[in-house]
Symmetry: D2
Subunit: 284 residues, 4 copies
């Protein structure tokens, strides 16, 4: 048996759940996970299914094609189908900050992240030793004001070569061009070190400190062409007080960045995220 994960959304109609579940049962599929949600404001239906089916490649292909033609098209479904057990390929982009990189590579080495990490790309060379220690290929691609287009072209070529499924910006300090982003729609996860929409842009800990907030946060989100405006995947906070200076904010924030980024990565890897109206539905 082979597991397939379905992510579905479409305009809500009566009977979708029954139609989908009946279809799978009729094809002798076995549903091992089902969760759905209807946004009644915009009347949109969202569903995540995991079902087991005959692992014979041809039969599975026909099943998926049949689902697409007989069900998905009828309902005007946006449909994504994934081989549940297949590890996605994740590329990491880093600059000089190492804390998120260490955290991700540690989790990965420890079996916690169900991904392959074929490549780490960086605009600096500083973190190469870490990639080496974890036996992951590292590519240094410097980025300047003048070479941005070529740098991104080189990055995209590498991502294509490694068949990368999604990209994680782990405190990568360069802003990606809209063109780059369009190659990976809702496939680039960034960690922003504030509780968006508070303190977008640069130096959010400094701004938070000056505002005298009693809580700081971090946000993981999909990158869109608008800086820090993309759909939010996960957020987390920690309390601060007057005894904490900017450096304390930064240190406390690092733990948030790590946890929020890794949670976002896990949701994505597990195909638990649907994007709609610049927001995310995160299945349980």
């Amino acid at each position: 048996m082979k597991k397939t994960t379905f992510l579905i959304n479409c305009p809500d109609k009566k009977g979708i759940i029954a139609t989908v579940t009946n279809f799978i049962l009729a094809k002798k599929g076995n549903i091992t996970y089902i969760d759905q949600y209807v946004d009644r404001e915009v009347k949109e239906f969202f569903m995540r299914l995991v079902c087991e089916f005959d692992s014979d490649e041809e039969k599975l292909a026909r099943f998926k094609e049949s689902f697409n033609n007989d069900v998905a098209k009828n309902y005007g479904m946006h449909l994504e189908m994934y081989d549940t057990d297949k590890k996605p390929k994740m590329a990491l982009f880093v600059s000089k900050y190492d804390h998120c990189l260490y955290d991700i590579l540690g989790r990965h080495a420890s079996g916690e992240l169900h991904v392959k990490i074929p490549i780490i790309i960086s605009n600096h060379n500083d973190l190469k030793p870490i990639a080496d220690a974890f036996n992951i290929p590292f590519k240094h691609i410097p980025v300047t004001k003048d070479n941005k287009e070529q740098a991104e072209a080189e990055q995209l070529a590498i991502l294509r070569e490694h068949k990368i499924d999604f990209v994680v910006l782990a405190r990568y300090m360069q802003i990606l061009s809209p063109d780059f982003v369009n190659h990976f729609p809702n496939k680039i996860i960034n960690i922003h070190h504030s509780f968006l929409p508070a303190f977008p842009g640069a130096k959010p800990y400094h701004s938070a400190y000056e505002r005298g907030v009693k809580i700081i946060g971090a946000t993981s989100h999909y990158v869109t062409s608008d800086l820090d405006e993309g759909p939010i995947i996960e957020q987390e906070i920690v309390r601060v007080s007057h005894v904490h200076n900017v450096q304390d904010f930064i240190l406390k924030g690092r733990d948030l960045e790590k946890i929020v980024l890794s949670r976002g990565i896990k949701h994505h890897i597990q195909h638990k995220v649907l994007v709609y109206n610049n927001k995310t539905v995160i299945f349980s």
Copy 2:
């Protein structure tokens, strides 16, 4: 014995703590609480003391005068001295939302808030029955675009008449003029139903919902002439997800508003808040 609470801040200098504590000991005062903090960025010293002293009115007055002249002036201290056990007089401003009012009056009736509540002022009449049920005088002062100055004059007269120490805006929906605010500098506590500085102004829950945040919050702060920009006293958050619509945000948010406002009120009542650089030091 009578307890006095001291709130102090001044430019940091060597020996302040020793000087202050020595002074009190020399005058036969007994320190029952002492907490201090130095902001090393701006080199400012903050201290909160509670000390017992002879309850004889004349002796106590001389002690306080002496402290002011012999210690405070030498260090250029901003100094506040309060009779610790005396209940401050708190006025409540409300409009139509009743949840914060019920919460505050319930806590007060239950002995949890060490204040007197001489008056509730409202621009509507809807909440009068609640004031009546809790035996608190209620004054209806309508506010329109054209009568704002007179309305505020009437409000200020009432606050003066009742010798109000501080004002709490419990989801009061009118914006106070800078003139009004100047009568009560750092003495007007407002509850804003978002996690500032995210979503200032009107309809923050709607904006939070559209942004697709995974966390909503509430903020209590002192009112300044800049809307939602005053020094933050307390913040709290709660997690939300795609299953929550705007109405759910509002309902969850109400619990936050209640808890954040009451915590802010308690800190203020207990003379635990010092304002500096548009931020607050909250003693433990």
Copy 3:
């Protein structure tokens, strides 16, 4: 149209969701809410449905009977059906602590709790003025070591007289007998002032203080014949530190008790709780 809430659990089988949804559609019902969960460890299926149906009383009764006979029985379903918009009748039991009572009555008066409160029962008379202020009948039934059986008989008679659906122990300090509890299986909600299973029984704040925990909590749960052992509905925590003494624990704990009890009450009122294996499934 009239809304009916269905709470269902049964041994998991293929096709339950399709069968249930097909049935409702065939009867011209309109599903406005559906959430389900399968516990794969014990292979049990749980579902909550809200569906609109013709408000004609006879037709609705036939629909519900038909669902029971044609669907529920086939699957061996534990089935509960509720008129969604009908307010359940909730009785409050109190002793001398007033904070939970004020909190519940304030929320109720404010429209937040979709219940009727026909009666407040207490083993003391202290809180009668609060019941009076909120216009709710109050019955004082003293409980001693010797009169417990008669006292409970009197309580049960009153609950029967008022057709009470469920009981909330709002810091009620008497332990109910197993006999009493059996009259209201999973219909008595208690608030315990600790994070169960830590610190069951008496004086949990004192025990927490002595253990030197850095976090305290509160737990709402259904009462069973084993003290503090019943299925947990909701829990919440707050951080504490060495600067907090027992009295501080108690004061901080009060806010937790209020919020945890009210959340538990809301889940119950909304028919969002299913009990299974001494644990709860709380639908979103």
Copy 4:
């Protein structure tokens, strides 16, 4: 100038703060950090000071000796003095779980933990590659029912040889004997994967799952001769629900274990912890 950290506790008396601060000022020391707390229940005074003093070794030694003789002894102080900038030597004990090890080594390599890690000791060989990747000596000392005394003797010899200041049990699965513990009083930090005192001992996630709690936690504490009973340093929680099975509890718990253990380590490294009455005072 050289910084010294003082940790002090003694029976509370009038004038301690003044005496201590006056003493330091008189010796031309410069206080850069001061925090104190009085437990008024047991009348015990706690203080943490960081002060700069002449870095000349002889002068500093005389200053410390003088403080001990002229101040500490007068007040019956328990006194600890540390070279603030000197990195303590921390040994890690591990078994097969690697998540805490990766987390600690990543933070250390990233400069976040101000310690030296001279040795990792394990009762298994599985984690040796991780120690190698981070260039840290690894010693495999198997422990069986019959060799416990010799194994511990070997461990203690290694700790002595490396002049280890404190030990961290990073999901080390062996129970240390009271004799071992007595060599490192309040110097062995353990991570227990529950919110103590709930679920002590083995398989706490399984027990938490069966109890149906809505919150799970982790606790870091100093090891004493009573299993899981030592003074708590830090705790943290995360919410769970019916959708989470034991495996989910374990995975969510891992993030808690990492954060709680690292926070405990940081408090200890920074000499911010005083133990008293089996509880901890954690300076800010």
